[in-house]
Symmetry: C2
Subunit: 344 residues, 2 copies
């Protein structure tokens, strides 16, 4: 099978996506891989496997790579002196563009529109995950607990300090701050506003546990990853989270079976048909036995490969179960009826 990994994008997580793609290159050995880079101006480039090094992008060398265009049916390039248009061959896309473009629904929308099969959240799944207010609204609707929160339009909140201030629409902890007093809240609010006009505040809950679980649906069957217990100091900011990106030792939680069943039940409720075709990671909080959804990562870093046994095999399973939307047949019955009614 040939996977076409799309990465980059007009996103605050553009660089994370590059690192994510490079990591995935190491993890996929038995299948063929192709790489399509979206630069910050949203041009598409076919990147040779041997050029999949972070410097190649940071130094702008990608600009000499083969340019591509996305169109109905796939990605196309001009070949030779006569500029003959050729179609890039592959079996399935892996959408690995983190943050804007990839996780806000743009790339999912284009892939679906142009009839290109992809391991990717769809538009609706993207919209739900991308905006924390929508994530919470969705979770409540399907009966999954979330940490209480409020939308704040000024540096004021009903919660006691410390509070966590977050831009509603960014991932990877960008723009997120913890405020222990009013001064810090003023600052955290300003920082968050740099990134979004929709800001939320949540109470900072002492001694909360965080668990991550990834998975997907393949032919009616849920495939789950191991559950990761996240060990962290106060709060992981963007740099701490990602300079630590290629971590090899992760803490796998040694948790009781009952808890595992409960957390998988939550995952199943969240995933349902909405996240079809995607490998997602849900980050949960636990306090006093209650499990809360913190966030949904519809394109987790390097596809959360470190959480799966036999990752490549799992990815193939998902790839095989990916479908496009059903076609709608348009037969102009309605217009013909109007024409008839008009007596024409």
């Amino acid at each position: 099978m040939t996977f076409l990994i799309i990465f980059g994008g007009q996103s605050f997580e553009h660089e994370i996506s590059i690192v994510s793609a490079i990591t995935l290159k190491e993890k996929i050995k038995n299948n063929n891989l192709k790489f399509v880079f979206i630069d910050q101006t949203r041009d598409f480039y076919l990147i040779e496997k041997e050029n999949m090094k972070s410097k190649f992008f940071a130094r702008g060398k990608f600009k000499k790579s083969q340019k591509l265009e996305i169109k109905k049916g796939g990605f196309f390039y001009k070949k030779g002196f006569l500029k003959k248009e050729e179609k890039l061959s592959f079996d399935i896309v892996i959408n690995l563009v983190h943050g804007r473009d990839g996780e806000d629904g743009k790339i999912p929308a284009m892939l679906e529109f142009f009839g290109i099969k992809a391991i990717s959240p769809n538009i609706e799944a993207s919209a739900i995950s991308y905006n924390k207010v929508l994530t919470k609204a969705y979770a409540k609707e399907i009966g999954v607990e979330v940490i209480e929160y409020e939308i704040i339009n000024s540096p004021k909140t009903k919660f006691n300090f410390p509070v966590i201030v977050k831009p509603a629409r960014l991932g990877s902890s960008i723009g997120v701050g913890v405020a222990k007093n009013q001064n810090e809240l003023d600052y955290a609010f300003d920082v968050a506003r740099e990134f979004d006009d929709l800001i939320i505040a949540e109470p900072f809950i002492e001694g909360i546990n965080e668990y991550n679980l990834a998975g997907f649906l393949s032919d009616e069957e849920f495939i789950f990853s191991k559950i990761e217990k996240v060990e962290k100091k106060e709060y992981l900011d963007f740099e701490k989270k990602y300079l630590d990106f290629s971590r090899k030792n992760i803490m796998l939680s040694n948790i009781e079976q009952n808890f595992e069943i409960k957390i998988k039940e939550k995952f199943t409720k969240i995933y349902n048909s909405t996240f079809k075709n995607a490998l997602i990671r849900c980050d949960f909080f636990e306090k006093d036995g209650i499990i809360y959804l913190n966030e949904i990562n519809p394109i987790p870093g390097s596809m959360a490969n470190y959480l799966f046994d036999n990752f490549e095999n799992k990815l193939e399973m998902l790839a095989k179960s990916v479908t496009l939307e059903e076609k709608i047949i348009i037969d102009y019955q309605y217009i013909n009826k109007i024409q008839m009614a008009k007596g024409k």
Copy 2:
């Protein structure tokens, strides 16, 4: 100003969109208009104004029109013997693709990705409006009442008959049915399942009033349409609603000022920054003085022109206030930091 009206699409409302575009042609006199048709295979065609007749589409004559491609910066066509690529000139797009493709976020996503300004809901606004479960979740989150409902996985509901059964993800009343007994519910459920795998049921409330209000935000100021009171028998199905499409006499409600203020307040809450760049129509229910959001039409039929005084002028106001997303600057600081940390 030149408006480029995009219509058609791989949608159950493909034909409605054609009629909608033809209607709009009649309503816009002082500005220039261009028309781009998306056929059911998702090819783009530039349609000459004089060909904007429903027969032209129903009989497949559009296939001889100039083909277009959507790419970074706009729509392009090949000109002359040398097939020189030319860019179609216009000021702003009006996304008039109703239902799938247009209102589910696909076309909004592509327009945003390719940097094309448009009067259109964005991806998030589309996702919220397109799925009735999300619409309700969103409304509750921002403090707007909705009619209670439940997601049904079988023809069973906790509500007493009659109930309304709806596919969650379609507009224009397609697949919607009213059931007065269990037999009818079985049937309505099967019909709804033809269109979506997510089905909801709502109680049918006797004597409920329906009011429609359209509007948009232009430079921090809300521009509202007149309020329409919808007079209807039992339930308007798809055909009744649309064979009646070109209705000239609409009932404008003669309502008290207090009620008007309340309904506009609801509209403002719903619209906020989420629906920026879109002209939307909110359909409200009223019973015993309480106003409920029924649904959000982010691309109302013919842009709800019949509800506005001086419609063309209003459309220009909106067009002038449309913005694209802010650009994100990518400077590879993060990758450079990793490189430095590695000592390379």
